[in-house]
Amino acid sequence: MSMASKVGKDLDKRERIVKRIASDLRDGFYVNLGIGMPTLVANYVPAGMDVILQSENGMLGIGPYPLEGSEDADLINAGKETITEIKGTAYFSSADSFAMIRGGHIDLSVLGAMEVDEEGNLANWMVPGRTVKGMGGAMDLVAGARRVIIAMEHTTREGQPKILKQCTLPLTGVRVVDTIVTEMALIQVTPKGLVLEEIASGLNANEVQRVTEPTLIISPNLRVMES
């Protein structure tokens, strides 16, 4: 496959994932979007819906990137990128920010993952043997948000499953994941195990199971993943 068409395919995957997550947003939701793919969810908030984005570094109401020449060094998001305000923006300290997060006031946290397992454990901050960058706010987000959605590709670059029976990497949180959305499927974490609720059009349940380590429970309401 050519480089261009590979890049095209990757963008395709990401778009499918973030669009599906965006369709779960509701008017008045306060949402934290993790660094990387999750930030793209902001591009698909339905028109006319108020979704207020929270940034762990002390801001509620994140606007789009600024126009060139209008960047403000005092106005950045959790990924250290320059951003803008919206009408209704508020600023506060980091202690207040994490009180908001840890205290269960954020409706939805969307994060990436290296691994998710059958119990909803999440590993997304460290690979032993590679440099340790730090966990930042991820552990607090998964401990505090009302709902945690993982946005990730279904397999690694080498085609290996990322949804495992048991995480092998250092954990970010125990039993914290509610929903996993990949380009192939939407999977709910339940006390009984992982339930396959939606599949991307053109795929069948076996194809999803083949690249998922734990046995998936097929939902009686299995439907096509719309995006």
Binding site: D140, A143, G173
Partner: protein, 235 residues
Amino acid sequence: MNKVVANADEAVRDVSDGATIMVGGFGLCGIPENLIRALVRKGVKNLTTISNNAGVDGFGMGLLLSAGQIRRHIGTYVGENKLLEQMVLQGQIQLDLVPQGTFSERIRAGGAGIPAFFTPTGVGTVVAENKETREFDGRLYLMERALKADFALVKAWKGDKWGNLVYRKTARNFNPMMATAAKITIAEVEHLVDVGELQPDMVHTPSVFVSRVFQGELYEKRIEKRTVRRVASGQ
């Protein structure tokens, strides 16, 4: 009462080797640029620094790192710093990584007279190692200790001569908590004003927490990731 000092060098006059120093800022946003440069000039060594990040190579706390002045760093994310990575691998620096919410609350607790508190963050992870775990209402929590320092280097947008401080936008971040949690809090401000000029309802850090204040200069205010959007075509 006048807490004004002439400049950053005077402000750090009694910082000595081995001191524990909190430094405000998130990434390069809201960092006390003048105070950091003054510490580099002063050459104090074996410092324990407490700051969310560690600057970037060549700027902010990266300057203290490359000058070999830091022995131990407590923070939450140091991904942008190749030099720190190397120094940790070579055993030249001890690095303690703390979840950002726990880090924030440990500092807040340090200034608020709370010696320890329980948080759900990190339960079941490496963060929980060697820490007391307790159950409340059917959920597990870890006990974390307060964090305090000898000095807090804080950056504010406006400050009056008593040390009342006002921060600007996301440059606020850890500065307010750090201002409360050290024996000596030094604030550098972009605009130093007379007492009475700040609106009382608008004060973010009340003066009681601040020991010294001065007007900073030559702010570079570097941007780590300059992200912009394009104007839609046809406009």
